[in-house]
């Protein structure tokens, strides 16, 4: 790994560890390997959003050309968000692509992602299904996002109705996550989800 990249990550790592966001448990950063090429990030779901109470793990890969190129970041925790793929966790955020600047750091990236959770950009979507729900039925979107936060990110809001519908599909032999995706995509309409699953 290029010297400058490793050295910068080392310094950034220390900066994050000492930052007040870490003290407030809002963000977290851990090393995965010792040559500073891969890190594990964690952000807390912002308050007053559907993601409140959840903790979202991020995979951070630092390229050789860092900081001239942005780090590659992906959600490892499943999340229901217009700008994040519900399948792969890929993120659509300008600063991680063409708007990256060498003066940005891992700390600013983590904070930007946290900001993205509180302010989605449905017009520049990563996940078209989620974005459509967000635009057409915001309440349904919030319900779904809260449910996903509860199931995958340890959020506090249990939704027995969702759990019940998923259980119905599981009883029909559908795998749990597949059932959740289908129901989430069809606004928790059990009939249409079933139809789609068995068509």
């Amino acid at each position: 790994m290029a010297n400058i990249a490793a050295q910068r990550i080392k310094r950034e790592f220390k900066e994050v560890i000492k930052s007040e966001e870490v003290a407030k448990c809002a963000i977290k950063l851990e090393l995965v390997d010792d040559n500073y090429t891969e890190l594990r990030g964690e952000i807390a779901g912002p308050p007053d959003t559907a993601y409140e109470g959840g903790n979202f793990l991020l995979e951070i890969k630092v390229p050789e050309t860092y900081p001239f190129n942005p780090p590659k970041v992906r959600f490892m925790t499943r999340i229901w968000h217009p700008n994040i793929s519900s399948v792969t966790g890929a993120i659509c955020l300008d600063i991680l692509k063409d708007q990256w600047a060498a003066a940005m750091t891992l700390r600013t990236v983590l904070l930007s992602l946290q900001a993205l959770l509180s302010a989605a950009e449905p017009d520049d979507p990563q996940d078209a299904v989620v974005a459509r729900q967000y635009k057409e039925n915001l309440e349904m979107f919030k319900l779904t996002a809260r449910h996903w936060t509860n199931v995958y990110a340890g959020g506090p809001n249990v939704n027995p109705e969702c759990d019940e519908k998923i259980k119905r599909l599981i009883d029909m032999g559908i795998e749990e996550h597949q059932a959740r995706v289908a129901l989430s995509s069809y606004n928790w309409d059990l009939e249409r989800a079933t139809e789609q699953l068995f068509s």
Binding site: R8, K14, L31, A101, A102, A103, M104
Partner: protein, 420 residues
Amino acid sequence: MADGVNSIMKKDDISSKGNRVTEFGGSEIAQESSIDEFAAPEAKFECPICLSWLRDPVLTFCGHRFCRVCIYEWLEKENACPVDNKKLNRDKDIFPDNFTRREISQQRTKCPNIIRGCLMELSPLDVESHLLVCEFQCPELPDHEKLRCTFVNVGCFEKFEDEPELQRHLEQNIQQHLTLLSQAYAKVNEVQNNDSSSSALAQANFWDPPPKAGASSTQVVPDENLQNLLRALYEKIIFLEQKAREQDIILSNMSEQISSHVSTISNFQQRYCNGCFIWYFNDFKAKIKSMRDNPRLMHYSPGFYTSSYGYKLCLRINLSPRDNNYLAILFHVMKSEHDQALDWPFCGRLSITIVHPFQSYKNIKETMMSRPELQAFNRPMHDLNPKGFGYTEFASIEELFDQEFIANNQLIIKVNAQPV
């Protein structure tokens, strides 16, 4: 200019802080500030791209400083400032910043190995190249041999080459470690609360009478009762322990008193026996055996008095030196408090009786008159007159057994001493 003054002020600040720390720790800590400066340069000397000291600094049109190499590499692919995104033309908008270059060149920082003894003072830019040749640099250890931060258990995963480095880390990261500790503490507390509340509840239920139908709202009360009960029991235990300790002391005092009384009483008995004393010679067989094994072994009776202010005498038993089948029984004169008021040498009648426990006609009795010419009757100079007077072959041991003088492994000897 104002900037320069500011930086001097800051430096003073830092070093005074360092001094304050020195009061607690070693001298190394006083140097901390300079190492800190190396690790993270002041913002105005830091390149936003490599986050290190500005090397060959340049200034952009929009007023940001970068290392020359860093900004040109960035402008290879972008044409905007990495800080504020303003358009930058690599040929027109970048100027060498010689002011900053001079300021940095005047900075001196200490080698990070100062904690191991390197006293080099360097330009911050030269630290890296110095570290490659610094004799105090310790070799990179393989990962598993590195020292872990002492706070690894609460989530600080830093690793160090050696002790001083770890020390420095501990000094510098107090705040962070405290945060980790408080988080860990909160977690532990949570777990404990869950634990204790459930177990306390279970225990409370255990102590309680079975709940009456419909009265299920008193979940808190049993818990409180239990707490109170425990507290009361605990207080009682302490009270009782205290009491037991007091009693122990009283008891030991009393038994001491009793034993001293017992010894005075036996003294009295012997003092007021009027010359007639009975010696119960216990454990007879074992004593005979031990005397046979060791012919010099002798047994003395307690001292007794011929009258309350009279002579003090005692008996001695040993095996006859000529024939160890015979018992020797002798009188000894002992020193007493009233010797000066008595007539010396002792003059009187002495009798020794071996008492048969059942048939008194079998008693063996011998009576002797004192013989003033013998040393044995002189006033004793020590506790006991070393010369005795009596029979070296008083009775045959075999006969004592045959005639059943020994009952309960005990020989009874009665003496009578009457001064005239």
